[in-house]
Symmetry: C2
Subunit: 187 residues, 2 copies
Amino acid sequence: MTEPSFTRRVPGDDERARDICDHCGFVAYENPKIVVGSVVRHEGRILLCRRAIEPRRGFWTIPAGYLELGETPEDGARREAAEEANVRLHMDRLLAVYSVPRISQVQLIYRARLADPSFSPGPESLDVRLFDPADIPRDELAFPSVHWALDHDAEAEAGAPPVPFANPQGASGSVMPNGERFGTDEM
Amino acid sequence: MTEPSFTRRVPGDDERARDICDHCGFVAYENPKIVVGSVVRHEGRILLCRRAIEPRRGFWTIPAGYLELGETPEDGARREAAEEANVRLHMDRLLAVYSVPRISQVQLIYRARLADPSFSPGPESLDVRLFDPADIPRDELAFPSVHWALDHDAEAEAGAPPVPFANPQGASGSVMPNGERFGTDEM
């Protein structure tokens, strides 16, 4: 078996450059990816997972990941929470639609509640905890959009109308609130 | 050059079956796709495009298509409208988030207005017209979600709160309102 080898060029029936296999002509179309996740509350506290994998190993995040084929976004958000924190969720509603064009992601973030109070780290998590909102380790959050989602969830909890939030004005997910610039991966 | 040839099996570092190239071992990850589109209004009328391409050639649709890499959903919806109807849009707000898991699509549909009243068919359209809502050819709409989007836009126009709509209760995009069952492609 040979090694994968692709050349970037425009296929005959297309207008954009794509990665085309040098061996067989297969066109590896790349599309933006859908991330589904949830801000999970239980008795006023918020569930966060400490990442066991790169990028951002050791940092805290909401349960979230790539939507799989054949899933609804709500089902995907439930699956990710089950995989990362061994929880069962009651889905509430769509909290936010974020766009991170630098890494070609659209994120659909839901509000959810624990169906029962049991949780534990899945294979991609070092730790899972319920945090009082005031105790969330803000300097140890994994991604800009985790900040956004927690802020927007707090606004929703305080009575904001149930309209999904979007990226904060001017933000594209490239900078952490502390000014740290972001690399090429997110979530 | 040989022909593309893939075998479906679970890669060593994965839990799901993927298409793997028989020649070089390249894993062709397939992800759900994001469709972005808009219900476009101009002076009380709604812009529709008659499809020049399969699936559903000859049927009417709202401007919509696949989000490309590096785009925000709003930019993608604007681009699709420009390509299909040669229009410039003012984007209003997110009208709906639909899920069609059968074909692994998530659709983000926006409300929009024409920035100026000029329009004409792009290469993927046979015709582009502004319809009075009462005159929309309901029996000649391309996809279930076009029905949903037009219904939801009418509700928004009638004063429904600005919360994005979702699939009609129990609907997964497999059946047209007239009972016709749907094939394997959509949009």
